[in-house]
Symmetry: C2
């Protein structure tokens, strides 16, 4: 058995359970393919869902933002959080509405986040984040100063439970519907990175670095 | 003043409030540009965030799924929900980590969802959903039967409060950093729809219909 995440009633894929995956390799591949996630948290019984960029080291998820962020001020206190990522890979058009669907990769991770309070550890985590997206850019930038480090909160969440849910392939119609004179198939959706747009104030003579080509989405 | 959503402490954009928008036109444009949303809900104090496709009519959001879905069984009971959409339009590389950012369009809507219990209303809503994505496909498909209608839950949520948050444009660096020998600018990200992939079991002679070209993402 490969390494996998525990799954309880909270995290088990219930509907279409054959689409569920719990092994680290599959769950991590979905998490890593998504540039941003949606963080769910509760304040006074009200759910909030905040999109933000994330990164991962082993079985730990990280995200960051302004220290004044409501989301970060809430989750860093150790309340239950749910971090979900979703990528749409295609629209699945079937011969009945009931079997129309979407090809997707999604993952839901549960845990409790904690703020990284050590400044060196915080900066190291941010470097790992930037280097994971555009390796080489960190070294070119001005290093963070004390005020910026204070104004930034980084949280880490050990994943207690997680599941990925994935759909691929053509529609799965009712057998008697295949004869219908209806187009059926998949409209694939992809995310692409376009040509770099230099800052209008870029110092003349600075060419787009090779590391820009390392940035991938999806 | 254009029509706008109320916003309280719950929904007001707090960080970088100049990125916040509450007018219907802006909020609806973001909601409509996203094919899927993330629905936040709470069970026994635990937040859950479930991705799903949505559609909109006026100031009402709709989504649907299996009647056995935990998410739908929960939200249709009239508990507080938060529906968030987010589109990433680009990675913003600045001359300091602190000013690195993302160009995005996001919206957060709060309300209470209710199941549509009338079968005709339910089917009409589903038709509106499909026609909003690929206008013309509904008429080609087999109509839903009684069992499928029963197995499908459609919920509608009147938006009580909502806000959009949008970032565009180049990095905004500290003035003294513009002289640094560091590349800065935007890596644009776009979602595109590829060529239709016919179902391997498609009846020979059925050409891709024109309505496939109507499907847009982002």
């Amino acid at each position: 058995m490969p390494d996998g995440y525990p799954h309880s009633e909270r995290s088990r894929v219930k509907r279409l359970h054959q689409r569920g995956h719990y092994d680290h390799e599959t769950v991590h591949a979905v998490i890593d393919a998504a540039t941003f996630c949606h963080v769910g948290y509760v304040i006074d019984g009200q759910p909030y869902v905040t999109p933000t960029l994330h990164w991962r080291a082993g079985t730990r998820l990280y995200w960051h933002g302004s220290s004044a962020s409501r989301m970060l001020r809430t989750v860093k206190e150790g309340v239950p959080a749910c971090v979900t990522v979703a990528l749409m890979d295609g629209l699945v058009l079937a011969r009945s509405g009931f079997h129309c669907s979407v090809n997707y990769r999604s993952a839901m991770a549960f845990g409790t986040a904690r703020a990284i309070t050590d400044d060196d550890e915080k900066v190291a985590a941010l470097e790992e984040f930037v280097e994971g997206i555009v390796p080489g850019h960190w070294a070119e930038m001005r290093p963070p100063n004390a005020q910026e480090i204070k104004a930034t909160t980084v949280v880490g969440m050990d994943i207690d439970e997680a599941a990925a849910k994935i759909r691929t392939g053509p529609p799965a119609d009712d057998e008697e519907d295949y004869a219908l004179p209806c187009w059926a198939g998949v409209l694939p959706v992809t995310q692409t990175v376009g040509a770099p747009i230099p800052d209008p104030r870029l110092t003349p003579g600075i060419a787009p670095p090779d590391y820009l080509a390392r940035f991938r989405v999806g």
